[in-house]
């Protein structure tokens, strides 16, 4: 919607005002995240810019908060826990989720709507309700405060994302391909791994990334279902923010921002690849 040359002054004014408004909203979206990055190099234990930082003097900056993150036992323990829990939860939700998504996108599925509603519900039900329910139920069956309990809880929270992304890729899936494979003598398992899987793989991977980030970023459920032994990175950040607020959080936050940028790029590349594979876009 470029401005036409015959635009009236009023239109010109509105055009630029609109752009400025949009610019401000974009600023609101991105600024809070970006401001963390320079602050994490603060040489002082402050949460605001020191005069030395504003003058760009070298003594105003340091890596000491990063140092703390990599040497502090608590943070390292939390990081290790997060890295132990998230991949397991992802594997569980991706394998169950992909199978179910394939089942759900068959042409005749009884109770499709009800099944779909149940499988999406972990995304809709407020986390605090899921967390308290799991706390009660997992204590009954002896899973509360165990690694397995946290993994199961995180896996079920990731399921809706896998279902949604995989069913979305299956919508564009050409069924005659599987029939052609069957016609040429491939069994169902072979058809799945040779024909269907490579085509829906981008959807599966992006669903997996969603599931991973859900677990990696989750704090409410792990607070209730886990015990001190399962303290994850977000949990450590949460206690840090609530009790003794330490600038190490900003260093951790910067690392996580870098991680989400990498993730975002991967997803975008996957999306393009999937569209190209299915012939939905020329590029």
């Amino acid at each position: 919607m470029a401005l036409p040359i015959y635009a009236s002054p009023m239109q010109k004014i509105w055009y630029y005002t609109f752009r400025i408004i949009c610019g401000l909203v974009f600023f609101f979206l991105v600024f809070p995240i970006m401001v963390i990055i320079p602050l994490s190099f603060n040489a002082q234990d402050f949460f605001t810019f020191t005069p030395e930082m504003l003058a760009f003097k070298a003594e105003g900056f340091s890596f000491k908060h990063y140092d703390d993150f990599f040497t502090n036992q608590d943070w390292q323990h939390a990081l290790k826990n997060s890295l132990r829990i998230a991949p397991m939860a992802t594997i569980l939700s991706v394998s169950f989720g992909t199978l179910a998504a394939i089942g759900l996108s068959q042409s005749h599925v009884p109770f499709r709507r009800a099944i779909m509603a149940i499988m999406i519900s972990p995304m809709i039900v407020p986390l605090i309700i899921s967390a308290s329910g799991m706390y009660f139920f997992y204590s009954r069956i002896g899973l509360q405060g165990t690694y397995a309990g946290v993994v199961l809880a995180h896996a079920v929270l990731g399921v809706p994302f896998v279902i949604i992304t995989v069913t979305a890729t299956l919508v564009g899936f050409d069924k005659s391909l599987t029939r052609a494979a069957a016609n040429m003598g491939a069994g169902p398992v072979r058809t799945f791994f040779k024909i269907q899987m490579p085509l829906i793989l981008p959807g599966v991977i992006s669903g997996g990334l969603f599931a991973f980030i859900t677990s990696f970023d989750e704090v409410v459920v792990v607070l209730f279902v886990g015990s001190a032994g399962q303290k994850t990175l977000p949990w450590q950040m949460f206690t840090g923010l609530r009790e003794q607020i330490s600038p190490t959080i900003l260093a951790v936050a910067t690392i996580l921002i870098a991680m989400s940028i990498i993730l975002l790029t991967t997803l975008e590349l996957l999306r393009r690849r999937s569209e190209r594979l299915r012939g939905m876009s020329p590029g």
């Binding site: 609109f18 752009r19 949009c22 909203v25 974009f26 609101f28 979206l29 991105v30 809070p32 995240i33 401001v35 949460f47 605001t48 569980l92 989720g97 199978l99 179910a100 089942g103 068959q106 042409s107 599925v109 009884p110 099944i115 779909m116 149940i118 499988m119 999406i120 972990p122 809709i124 039900v125 407020p126 605090i128 309700i129 899921s130 799991m134 706390y135 009660f136 199961l152 896996a155 079920v156 399921v159 949604i164 992304t165 069913t167 980030i213 970023d217 704090v219 409410v220 209730f224 977000p234 950040m237 949460f238 923010l241 609530r242 936050a253 996580l256 921002i257 989400s260 975002l264 999306r271």
Partner: protein, 420 residues
């Protein structure tokens, strides 16, 4: 002769039958693929929710700890204004003695304390004395209890025990609705104790406010993204997706850093001279903090559905309206805006559902004034240990969210949820 009308499949059965058979096989195959996940979700997610709902009405602590007392107490007339007779006290002494041995009496005390303050210490204190009581050498149990504590002669203590002796109770739900059961029936609690109703109303108001802010800020962005050429809109889309993908804790800590009294925003405003140093804005630990931070966190959930709806509105419609004499504003209001309403609806319900159950962000930036009902639920589950009340509050919140979920499914369809 009868076979002439029937079409046969290759194996000789009727085509209709073999089609039905293959359809059935297809259905079974689909269900078999779905079954593992369905079972998994039912076990790890639906069962816990069911357990929580059950806890909100469950009440077997009194009947389990005091089985004999409950039985004889049911015959007592609670309206008599007199303490129950000897038989009840004897049963109570026997029950309590067993309970003290397994230390169950403190649990019983704290359960009854939710309904009538003071019972917890009464039971605890009596428990210590009952230990020394010789059951076979007590002439009158009633006198013995009166000597231990005069409060046992108060009929209202026994009324409470009698009221909560059944296996199930609506007491938690009454408490969650700021109601209480007295001898004159269900009544509202005193004005200064009405916290939950106010908290629910505040949660709704704040969620509505956040949803409204998201529409206000999200609409122009979605419009810009939908009307710009593909190349530039893809670049700007990254600015929307980056916060969407950034960890929730990171964004919350960012706001904590920005909004603090000694934080970046206040420092900047002081430096500009807009506000005096001693007069810094109170941006955190109140409603303002929660609304600002949560609008930022939920804004992408408004922009993405709005964008996908606006993308389907052909730009030619606006041009047609203008060629027929509408000015820019008129063309937007009469042609574009009505077509974007489904997007506003989808985004609003999504943002509202997410906002109403938020816990982390209000906990950190909300202080005491800017917290939601979720924070109260968490408090009851992990600090006050009044699980029943926490579960009842959760059940009410769940009903609200499920109603909205149903609305969303009806108007948007859960299959149409798009991510990223």
């Amino acid at each position: 002769m009868s076979n002439t009308n029937t079409v046969l499949a290759s194996d000789g059965t009727s085509l209709k039958k073999s089609l039905a058979k293959s359809l059935r096989r297809q259905k079974i195959r689909a269900l078999l693929l779905i079954a593992p996940l369905l079972f998994f979700v039912l076990l790890t997610f639906i069962a816990p929710i069911g357990d929580m709902l059950f806890r909100s009405v469950e009440n077997n602590i009194v009947s389990d700890t005091l089985p004999r007392t409950v039985k004889v107490l049911s015959k007592w007339d609670s309206m008599s204004g007199q303490a129950p007779d000897e038989e009840v006290f004897e049963a109570f002494a026997r029950d309590l003695k067993i309970a003290v041995k397994s230390k169950l009496h403190t649990k019983l005390g704290s359960r009854l304390n939710y309904e009538k303050t003071g019972i917890s210490s009464l039971v605890r204190q009596t428990g210590r004395k009952v230990k020394k009581l010789d059951l076979d050498a007590t002439p009158s149990f009633k006198d013995a209890f009166e000597k231990m504590n005069k409060k046992w002669m108060d009929p209202s203590v026994w009324q409470t025990i009698q009221q909560f002796s059944s296996k199930y109770t609506d007491g938690y739900f009454l408490a969650a609705a700021d109601l209480t059961r007295t001898s004159e029936g269900i009544q509202k609690v005193d004005e200064d104790k009405k916290i939950y109703f106010k908290l629910f109303v505040r949660t709704l108001y704040m969620s509505l406010g956040i949803t409204f802010m998201c529409i206000l800020l999200g609409y122009p962005i979605a419009f810009l993204l939908a009307t710009l050429p593909m190349r530039s809109s893809n670049v700007l889309m990254i600015l929307v997706l980056l916060p969407f993908w950034t960890s929730l804790l990171v964004r919350t800590s960012a706001w904590k850093v920005l909004l603090q009294n000694q934080g970046v925003i206040n420092d900047f405003l002081v430096w500009l001279g807009v506000i005096a140093d001693g007069n810094r804005l109170e941006l955190i630990n109140n409603v303002t903090g929660t609304v600002i931070a949560m609008t930022h966190i939920l804004l992408p959930f408004m922009i993405l559905p709005l964008f996908s709806v606006m993308k389907t509105i052909p730009p030619t419609y606006m041009r047609a309206a203008k060629s027929m004499g509408a000015n820019d504003f008129m063309a937007f209001r009469r042609v574009y805006f009505p077509q974007s309403i489904p997007g506003i609806g989808a985004g609003s319900i999504l943002v509202f559902i997410l906002a109403i159950g938020y816990y982390i962000t209000p906990e950190i930036v909300g202080g005491t004034k800017g917290v939601f009902i979720s924070n109260r639920i968490a408090y009851h589950i992990s600090s006050s240990l009044n699980w029943g009340l926490g579960a009842a509050l959760g059940a009410i919140l769940l009903v609200v969210v499920l109603a909205l979920y149903w609305l969303y499914d009806k108007f948007v369809g859960i299959d149409n949820v798009k991510l990223g």
